[in-house]
């Protein structure tokens, strides 16, 4: 089972915690219209794979990459959409 990637698939609800430090509103209710297949889905409905090498969220209709979040000690890298480039957020010090 663990070797079947679909068996480890989560959904976007699991992104609520990792993305919480960089959003003022809960990100899982945000709506996305897929540029590839036009399907509308909230972030909570995206299909999420991971956690290594990062949490990858894909369109539930056509699997197009919607966002990628990579956690490092002290940092969160966030890539939105399929484009190249990611934003690096510095997280508040642990315990703070």
């Amino acid at each position: 089972m663990p070797h079947d990637p679909a068996a480890f698939r989560l959904d976007g609800n699991a992104l609520a915690g990792p993305l919480a430090p960089v959003f003022a509103l809960d990100p899982t209710t945000a709506l996305r219209v897929c540029p590839a297949c036009r399907m509308q889905a909230t972030v909570g409905e995206l299909h999420v794979y991971g956690p290594e090498p990062g949490l990858t969220a894909r369109c539930p209709g056509c699997s197009q990459l919607a966002l990628r979040a990579v956690q490092q000690p002290g940092h969160l890298w966030l890539q939105l959409g399929t484009g190249q480039g990611a934003f690096r957020f510095t997280l508040p010090a642990a315990g703070g």
């Binding site: 959904d11 609520a16 003022a24």
Partner: protein, 240 residues
């Protein structure tokens, strides 16, 4: 529905208050979290453990009940050879501290203001956030019909058995046994099928919530869509 403010990014210290067995591998854990802001049924927390050498592990656990002041209730099932869940379920000492981030998630939630019949589909420990919905519904005295379909391997794998044996008004509990049923159960054991959905409220009126292992969630979401329930009214939470 407006997005709930996140405001949930802080890690708070949570102290283990009590541990109570539910099934052979499942425990109810209560934690005291100072200044807990309250939460909605269906939300979860992320629990972070830090080892002496600084190594950290984070896992998500659903909130099983409305908060009671600063006390929150989780339901943790020990996964075979899992890194975190067997530790939380059976090893973490009473009085010990972990860190908790939350409440998290505004999508897989239900509030008593949500009109329409409620359909809850639980597989295994996927019952945890759905129990929070059932409890919130009972506390609010909701008159909307509610059906819980709960798939469990056998009678001794049923969480919250005593509470579920006493359904509230307009509430129906259907237990679906996959491996071993109690004597006299007219249903043949096996996974949820289309016939188990007979007699449910009309597709289009009912809000459906499905939670459990990924395979269970995908199977039930497919059954519901085949039965005519629109995708917009089906919300899922995959536990992995």
């Amino acid at each position: 529905m407006p997005s709930p403010p996140s405001g949930a990014s802080a890690w708070r210290t949570a102290r283990l208050l009590s541990r109570e067995p539910q099934i052979s591998t499942g425990r109810t854990l209560r934690f005291t979290v100072p200044d807990w802001p309250g939460h909605l049924a269906g939300q979860h927390v992320d629990v972070r453990l830090t080892a002496d050498d600084g190594y950290q592990a984070v896992r998500s656990y659903s909130l099983a009940a409305p908060a009671e002041g600063d006390t929150v209730e989780l339901g943790v099932q020990a996964a075979p050879d899992g890194e975190v869940s067997p530790y939380l379920a059976d090893v973490l000492p009473i009085g010990a501290e972990v860190e908790i981030q939350g409440p998290l998630g505004g999508w897989f939630i239900w509030t008593p203001r949500d009109a329409g019949p409620l359909l809850l589909f639980a597989g295994g420990c996927g019952i945890v956030p759905l129990m929070a919905m059932l409890r919130a519904r009972r506390a609010a005295g909701s008159a909307e019909p509610c059906t819980l379909l709960y798939s469990a391997r056998s009678p001794d794998e049923v969480w919250y058995a005593r509470e579920l044996a006493d359904p509230g008004p307009a509430e129906e509990i259907r237990l679906i046994y996959t491996r071993q049923a109690p004597p006299g159960d007219p249903r043949t054991t096996g996974r949820v099928g289309a016939q188990d959905l007979a007699g449910l409220p009309e597709p289009g009126s009912a809000r459906c919530y499905v939670c459990g292992p990924t395979g269970f969630v995908e199977h039930v979401a497919d059954l519901l869509q085949t039965a005519g329930h629109p995708r917009e009214l089906i919300r899922t939470e995959r536990f992995g």
